[in-house]
């Protein structure tokens, strides 16, 4: 479904070239929950920005169902962005809008009729189990509840891919488990492909089927979660396992 081919990204910082990503190649199949794990500064965020077509790679390309993201023009780019839902670490909800209107927002901007929007939002509220909170404002919610609203919002336009950027890094262990369970449910019920960027090994162990370990802008190791974590071959994976018991 998503094919990342020899992706490289170089930034120029104070006249020095910084290689944020070096020759990254990843294949993500339809319906998978794919984890991308690495320490901070490993290049995870840059990779995510490339996936969301917010950043232009220096070399290589990203294919979405065989169509290149990198060569896409503006109109097409909007379409591609809408085909991917994004969940952020900081939720990024609109603080002056109710839960209902937050979830309705992406539908409104893609021109969905009010009646259809109402149905879709109510359906999503049910999926994330927030029906009783639809008229409250984000400031009245807990972190886990905010993230559930953010997930509903990301799913509003029926994306086939859900990109999650450190979705549980601001949450406590129990809430983390609940949010991960919700993501798993969405993956199995709606067939949405999920990509999770994280530095927490437990998140990957908990719900991912495939994983890529990134370090210093390169892929240290990639494969099925059970293989990678039971027989780690790279020093980074080993230290990730050691550090987070």
């Amino acid at each position: 479904m998503i094919k990342i081919k020899n992706l490289s990204k170089t930034f120029t910082q104070n006249g020095n070239a910084v290689n944020a990503l070096k020759n990254i190649s990843i294949d993500i199949g339809k319906g998978e929950i794919f984890g991308i794990i690495g320490m901070s500064g490993a290049g995870k965020s840059t990779l995510l920005r490339c996936l969301r077509a917010l950043e232009k790679p220096t070399a290589g390309e990203i294919l979405l169902n065989g169509v290149s993201l990198t060569g896409a023009k503006n109109g097409r780019l909007t379409e591609i962005r809408r085909s991917m839902g994004v969940v952020f670490q900081g939720y990024n909800l609109l603080m002056q809008r109710t839960v209902y209107r937050n979830i309705a927002f992406p539908l409104q901007i893609s021109g969905v009729s009010p009646e259809e929007t109402r149905q879709r939002v109510n359906q999503l509220l049910k999926v994330v189990d927030m029906e009783d909170k639809k008229d409250v404002y984000p400031s009245q919610l807990s972190g886990g509840q905010k993230q559930r609203v953010a997930i509903a919002r990301a799913l509003a336009t029926n994306p086939r891919i859900l990109l999650c950027d450190e979705p549980t890094s601001a949450l406590d262990p129990l809430t983390t488990r609940q949010v991960l369970a919700l993501l798993k449910e969405i993956n199995s019920k709606l067939g949405v492909t999920i990509i999770i960027i994280t530095h927490e090994i437990n998140v990957v162990k908990n719900i991912c089927s495939q994983v890529a370990v990134i370090s210093d802008g390169e892929i240290a190791e990639t494969g099925a979660v059970k293989d990678v974590f039971t027989h780690p071959s790279s020093p980074v994976t080993k230290s990730l396992i050691e550090w987070q018991v």
Binding site: R82, L94, Q96, I109
Partner: protein, 222 residues
């Protein structure tokens, strides 16, 4: 007391109306001008949705230059323009023009700082949903509404102060009679009553805008 009211009551009432008329109308006009200016100032910044560094630099300078003018000099400088737009250069209506010109760049900076307060992640989220720049601007304005309302109270109260300076060109208003009757002619009672009336207006404006800002803010409700 009765004597004071019969000699100065009408004068004070008329000038209270003039002060309100000048400061409130110029607040309204300065927002009509300054709000889009502030949005432009913010959105053309580096890394922003309508990034244009050259425009941003030039525009920022123009705003700084207008803001640097001492207000009395600005009134005199724009006088020919005031005559052209309003038809005359003297009186409360004529004063609205320089007051607006003077306040618009100030408003632009206030709006800019209100927009700066919003979490950049919100813009990122909108971009991910494929929102057009105009949609993002609408979101930014509605997210910063409480802060913009607070700016509105600062601007309107500042303009009450400015309108006293406009008295120098015959604009009238409470500040003007406080200077002319109280200071120049040494009728202290008129000066003090004018000042008290200004204080009352300022308190009312501040209370009303605070209330509006608090009511519109959905971030602190529990």
């Amino acid at each position: 007391m009765a004597e004071f009211i019969s000699s100065y009551g009408l004068l004070l009432a008329e000038n209270t109306v003039d002060t309100l008329y000048m400061s409130l109308l110029s607040t309204a006009f300065s927002y009509i001008l300054g709000l889009p200016m502030g949005v432009l100032l913010y959105t053309t910044k580096e890394g922003q949705i309508l990034e244009n560094r050259h425009f941003n630099a030039v525009f920022g300078w123009v705003i700084n230059i207008v803001r640097s003018f001492p207000f009395i000099i600005l009134i005199i400088t724009v006088m020919p323009l005031t005559r052209l737009v309003i038809g005359k250069a003297i009186g409360p209506t004529a004063a609205i023009f320089p007051l607006t010109i003077g306040a618009a760049p100030f408003v632009a900076r206030m709006v800019e700082s209100s927009l700066e307060e919003i979490d950049k992640g919100v813009i990122e989220a909108c971009q991910c949903m494929g929102a057009a720049p105009m949609t993002i601007i609408r979101v930014l304005l509605s997210e910063s509404k409480p802060s913009i309302i607070r700016g509105l109270s600062i601007t309107s109260i500042t303009l009450i102060g400015y309108s006293a300076i406009a008295g120098a060109v015959g604009a009238g208003g409470l500040g003007d009679i406080a200077i002319r009757y109280g200071y120049h002619r040494r009728i202290e009672s008129v000066m003090w009553v004018s000042v008290i009336l200004i204080i009352i207006i300022v308190c009312i404006l501040q209370t009303v805008f605070d209330l509006l800002a608090r009511k519109s803010d959905k971030r602190n409700i529990l």
